[in-house]
């Protein structure tokens, strides 16, 4: 057979590039990822919480609530294990449907069986105190999430997490020497991880934004957040009537 024939045959076969193959395999049973709100979508590979993955969240409860909000609004259940002081009101303001937000504040000395049971039926399971778990227990939880198509969201370090979201607080806006109230908080969220998320992504967000939900921060509004904080600290000597 001549070489030209093979080339023409190859053109007729629908060739799938290897780069897109990975994303297809990412979707077990072809189910789409759990949706997240638009400002967070750019941080996550596939624009959502991929089913069966582990997404670690550091340093911000508001970030976790923002991650849960869009999915619970679409009928997905979420559970938070081991957090005794979650602000349910803040969750509502962030857009979480609290009727589908389950709290297990005291899972006992070993939260792993509780988290495993929840991963069976609840789509999004956030877990505090995961650092203290043994590597074996962590692996079995991740395997359970992968098998069930749920997403495990450990609050803290998690070796082998697909995405790690790190939240760094820049500044609070709204309160000034007695006037106003806390309106919004500017944060920088860094996403890093494995696979499709290996390239670090950074987003500057208002978390919480005005009124509660997460919003994109406009860079030109706060050129140097640290400096803003300093000036406020200096300007606080004003007396209050």
């Amino acid at each position: 057979m001549a070489g030209g024939d093979i080339a023409s045959l190859l053109q007729r076969i629908p060739v799938v590039p290897a780069s897109t193959l990975g994303e297809r395999l990412d979707v077990p049973g072809g189910r789409p990822p759990f949706p997240v709100v638009a400002p967070l979508a750019s941080l996550l590979p596939g624009g959502g919480l991929r089913r069966g993955s582990v997404v670690a969240v550091h340093g911000s409860m508001a970030l976790l609530l923002a991650l849960l909000s869009a999915a619970t609004a679409r009928g997905v259940w979420a559970a938070v294990v081991g957090v005794g002081d979650l602000g349910v009101l803040a969750a509502t303001e962030a857009g979480v449907v609290v009727q589908r937000l389950v709290l297990v504040p005291r899972p006992g000395s070993d939260p792993a069986p509780v988290a495993a049971a929840l991963l069976d039926g609840v789509g999004l399971v956030a877990l505090a105190g995961a650092e203290r778990m043994s590597p074996g227990a962590q692996r079995s939880l991740a395997a359970r999430a992968r098998q069930r198509g749920s997403v495990l969201l450990p609050l803290g370090r998690w070796p082998g997490a697909e995405v790690e979201l790190d939240c760094h607080v820049e500044a609070w806006d709204g309160a000034e020497a007695g006037y106003g109230w806390l309106r919004s908080r500017e944060v920088v969220v860094r996403a890093a991880g494995r696979g499709a998320a290996v390239r670090p992504r950074i987003a500057r967000l208002l978390l919480p934004g005005p009124g509660g939900p997460v919003a994109e921060a406009l860079a030109d509004l706060a050129p140097s957040p640290r400096a803003v904080g300093e000036t406020r600290a200096v300007g606080e000597t004003r007396a209050v009537g």
């Binding site: 002081d85 609290v98 509780v114 069976d120 020497a177 406020r232 606080e236």
Partner: protein, 535 residues
Amino acid sequence: MAPARVMVVWCPDWPAVAGAAAAGSAAQAPVAVVAANRVVACSAAARAQGVRCGQRRREAQGRCPELAVLADDPDRDARLFEPVVTAVEALAPGVEVVRPGLVAVPARGPTRYFGGEPTVVERIVDMVATQAGVQCQIGIADGLFAATLAAQRGLLVPPDGSAGFLAMLGIAELHQPAVTGVDRSAAGRAGVDRAGAGRAALVDLLHRLGLRTLGAFAALPVDDVASRFGLDGVRAHRLARGLDERPPARRDPPVDLTVTRRFDPPLGRVDAAAFASREPAEQLHTALAARGLACVRLGIGSCTGAGEELHRVWRCAEPLTASGIADRVRWQLDGWLTSRGSRPSAGITLLRLVPEEVVDGQALQRGLWGESGEDDERAGRALVRVQGMLGPEAVLIGVLGGGRDPTDRVHLVPWGDDPTPARDANPPWPGRLPAPSPSRVPARPLPAEVFDDAGRAVGVSGRGSLTGVPYRIAVDGNPPRRVLSWAGPWPVEERWWEPGGGRRCARLQAVLDAEPLAVLLVCETGRWWVEGIYE
């Protein structure tokens, strides 16, 4: 709409039969029951000798000198009838006792179960004869009235044939004390009964008008009957047309549905418990389903070999299926046998399933518009599983209600409980903090101290203003941190009108240095607390 198919079990001459049984006389002996000097019931032997209902006692005794005359006693009739009802109920649930001697049962279920009306009739007649020792006749027709008349003739009227069956019968059949609900004994004692007398007069009138059969009466237009004969006439007309005055109401058997199982040897392992829980769960569900019920609150109790008593109630948003009951029992036993803190010291020897709250079985149906979706069902199973591991109060759902601070406005209820807020969210709550709210609300407020730039403690004056400018804040015994910015104070006075019940406090938001950390502080009786953390 045609009335439901009804089976009527009729014991002929029941007062006489019951009276003879109570007096210990033979069933074949001539017996008459007399109320107010009139015969109200007599046995077949007495009837053969010319005794009739309505005769005077002396006249009946004249016709049949060996007649045993018994006083009328409705209590005796009812008491002796109970075995008959039980016998019928054993084969056909939903028994309605129309009066002692007459039982109505919806015929559809038993007919389909036993595979045909003649089979059911045969089995029930046998059952009543063997268990209660009483002869009975059975009729099946559409509607209670037609079925009663069919039972008196021992007929099975085909479906939709009631009107035709009734049309051939005489107009006097309308006067049926059993069906019209006239109390026989009351009528006998009082001599007259208005409803009964009214119906008897109606029958007499219709007869004199030339309407000799029920069919002739049924052929009259209903509005003409209404305008001439009134409400009772319309009811009689409905009966004559083969319609029902009312459908038979179910009698729920007042039995204890608790299922109890003993285990020997005691259960000590989870897999054995899982296996053992299946059968009692199935039994409870079957017992409930046979009565058209389903369980929404299930009590699971157990005793251990060491005499410990464990009991837990499972509440479910949806009625439990057989597998749902089995799952809960298994999870509960699993939870008891594997819990670390309160593990029983011996194996489980007794299991008790108590349906604490039941609903109609139809509530088992799924919502039409997918309210009970697959996701919700899966999540529900997982949550119930966790409740089995940690106890029902370990799995919580937040309910938003009214109030001013983030603690007040949220009310946590165990999953499965009624999610009703403690306080109404609708009335205005002045002094409520604007959004965003703190993302962490400590269950117990953390102590805090607020200092000004000279290191003096800052408080809130009686007029609701700060006594100094916050410069450093120490939270929960930690070293003080610089204040980057702050807002407030917002004084709140709650329920000041209640003697001793009021609350006076002031709130302050502060952003602390290092990585900016915002906290919500509240000053109450001179002390500062951290009520929320904006993390």
